[in-house]
Assembly symmetry: C2
Homo-oligomer: 146 residues x 2
């Protein structure tokens, strides 16, 4: 279980460990996919109905600052919260079929951004990518016909 790692990351960000944070991070960890605000609140409420909405959002904010959670934009402009395995800035490939998430490291997008910088004379200082499609498994299934 990686809870120890999670706790370590929270502590490393200079934040306190509380049962609420443990629980919220745990929910996201077990989900393994981005959760919309309501899904998350529901799931948290199911495990401990005593946790208030304000705490959920505050915790999400803290976890984002700690680099543990990323706020991603799901299809249809819905906000989603995702527990990130890798630290540091990175992007995600979201499978529309099974909801799986694959990390796209910053290193892979850097050359592309450099190209854009060169072509447009534009100094990029922040970029987020939302890439949707079919992951390897789901794409295979589709192509295999049925």
């Amino acid at each position: 279980m990686s809870s120890d790692t999670l706790r370590g990351r929270i502590l490393a960000a200079g934040q306190r460990i509380t049962p609420q944070r443990d629980l919220i991070a745990g929910v996201l960890e077990r989900a393994g996919r981005p959760l919309a605000a309501q899904e998350l609140c529901d799931a948290v409420g199911q495990e401990d109905p005593g946790i208030g909405r304000a705490t959920v959002f505050r915790t999400l904010q803290s976890l984002q600052e700690a680099g543990i959670v990323q706020n991603v934009t799901l299809l249809g402009n819905q906000a989603g919260y995702l527990l990130c395995a890798s630290a540091g800035h990175h992007h995600h490939l979201v499978c529309r079929h099974c909801g799986a998430i694959e990390d796209l490291p910053e290193a892979e997008v850097a050359p592309f951004l450099s190209g854009v910088e060169a072509a447009h004379g534009f100094g990029v200082d922040h970029a987020t990518f939302n890439i949707y499609g079919a992951c390897r498994a789901c794409a295979g299934e589709e192509h295999a016909g049925r």
Copy 2:
């Protein structure tokens, strides 16, 4: 003035021309940068206080379907509405300093997406990019010192 073009695009999408749509599209056109929901509602209300909020949002939706308006995510996860000069799917480079928007055509990102597809075995079917930084003019200013 490109209003005729705008109207043409609305008609081409099989939608009716109404004074409200004219006005809302006009506000976005004159802004030349993405407007947050509230800014847009305010600006519309200033030109014609009779236009209801519901109409503004409905119109935005219609215009999005017609490919005239894009919903972009501004920094801080704020939703913004932007009138797009070029039709078809494309992306934007947003200058943090002056708010200017530069189009990034799909053709420029396609090779990058192909690379991602090859590297991850992921079949991309939709991607949105949010790229922030300094446009040519603002970057120059910064570097020139002052």
